[in-house]
């Protein structure tokens, strides 16, 4: 086929195109994935029974809001990675800053704590399961965002996959906080971050295979 024929053919398909498709499709993925994530959290782990009291503790809100900040940055990064020729720039900082902040605060609280309490702050009661639980809860958003990304045009598929993981992992951590009994910053700094890192790594590995276009 001559290129001119192809051009004529493509021009025949000139329908109006939706605006801001990247933002809207990733938002839709989040909207579809989040309720499912909540269902997994509720059916497999259950909301903690003292949730109403816990809501008065600042630590509970740290556990919810910090992952939310990371998820928002992940969203911004992802919708930029989904569009060819758009630089991510400040988005990376938005992803890194909440984590660095958490690590700094966690380290400080670890140093300030009496020596006898330090081990408990790191391991808590649930270190064995926390990261894997977050990774499990991240699945619906992860899959939905990957599907959304497949309909867009990421030119750096490994990064785009990692960004998908960051969005899904952070959203999952925020959801998991409604179950999680832990209240120490060092615990969050290690096991929550590890739980979010799992989908990031999975996305970086899957991206080049799944997101080709």
């Amino acid at each position: 086929m001559k290129t001119d024929d192809l051009v004529a053919l493509l021009a025949a398909d000139a329908q109006p195109v939706p605006r801001n498709a990247a933002t809207r499709r990733i938002a839709l993925a989040l909207l579809l994935g989040l309720p499912l994530a909540a269902v997994i959290m509720q059916t497999r782990f259950g909301v903690r029974s003292d949730l109403v009291q816990v809501m008065y503790w600042p630590m509970f809100w740290v556990k919810v809001l910090l992952p939310c900040l990371i998820a928002i940055a992940g969203f911004v990064v992802l919708q930029r990675l989904a569009r060819p020729g758009v630089a991510v720039r400040g988005g990376w900082l938005g992803l890194a800053l909440p984590v660095l902040m958490l690590w700094t605060l966690a380290f400080a609280s670890y140093l300030l704590a009496p020596e006898a309490e330090r081990a408990g702050m790191v391991w808590g009661q649930t270190w064995r399961t926390c990261s894997l639980n977050i990774a499990l809860i991240s699945l619906p958003v992860f899959v939905a965002a990957m599907v959304a990304l497949k309909s867009l045009a990421p030119t750096r598929p490994a990064l785009a996959g990692a960004g998908t993981g960051a969005l899904a992992g952070a959203a999952a951590a925020a959801v998991y906080a409604f179950h999680c009994p832990e209240l120490a910053l060092p615990f969050l700094a290690i096991w929550y971050v590890a739980g979010m890192a799992l989908p990031v790594v999975a996305g970086a590995l899957l991206g080049p295979r799944v997101l080709r276009w």
Binding site: M1, K2, A11, A14, P84, W213
Partner: protein, 183 residues
């Protein structure tokens, strides 16, 4: 020249995104000339590949045109896609090391334009034949006979919206076949 092309092409493209077929047609013609020059400079060792890649880029840009937002220079969008498709090709040929011209050089996509279309080596028409009828027929009628959507609809007995959907899905399928064929 470079900046003029950006302004002119972007204007046509934005009208095309709103559904203006004439402006979009004009945009694609100018774009293919720029792509031919851009890719020709980089693939000087493989002149046969250039027209294939021009067509693949055109199809990819058409299918992914919803990822362009007007707050972004069109040059950056076009260049990122052209480079992505070119690297894909080079990677498939496993000759990236042999390329002397660095991929991230400063040659700009709209700097030159080359309107002499060579024949593509890859037979897009052959790939077209592998599509199901509901996608192939609308494409063949609109392409070969130059019929309008309404005329194609009455010629094939399909509804007008089925013709539009057939073209749309057929172009996506065509891009997927290019990806899995030969590479």
């Amino acid at each position: 020249m470079h900046g003029d092309a950006e302004v002119q092409l972007r204007g046509l493209f934005l009208r095309g995104l709103e559904g203006d077929a004439a402006a979009y047609h004009q945009f694609l013609q100018k774009l293919s000339a720029h792509l031919r020059a851009f890719l020709g400079k980089r693939l000087f060792g493989w002149p046969d590949e250039v027209e294939d890649l021009v067509q693949e880029c055109l199809l990819a840009m058409h299918n992914q045109r919803h990822t362009y937002q007007s707050d972004q220079p069109l040059t950056a969008w076009v260049q990122a896609i052209a480079r992505y498709k070119m690297i894909d090709l080079l990677r498939a040929k496993s000759v990236r090391e042999a390329l002397h011209d660095p991929l991230d050089d400063e040659l700009a996509v709209f700097a030159d334009s080359d309107t002499d279309a060579a024949d593509a080596r890859r037979d897009l028409a052959g790939l077209l034949d592998t599509l199901p009828d509901r996608q192939r027929l609308p494409i063949v009628h609109v392409k070969l006979q130059g019929l309008s959507v309404a005329e194609t609809a009455s010629a094939t007995g399909m509804s007008e919206s089925a013709v539009k959907v057939g073209i749309h899905r057929g172009l996506k399928a065509l891009a997927a076949r290019i990806r899995s064929s030969a590479r």
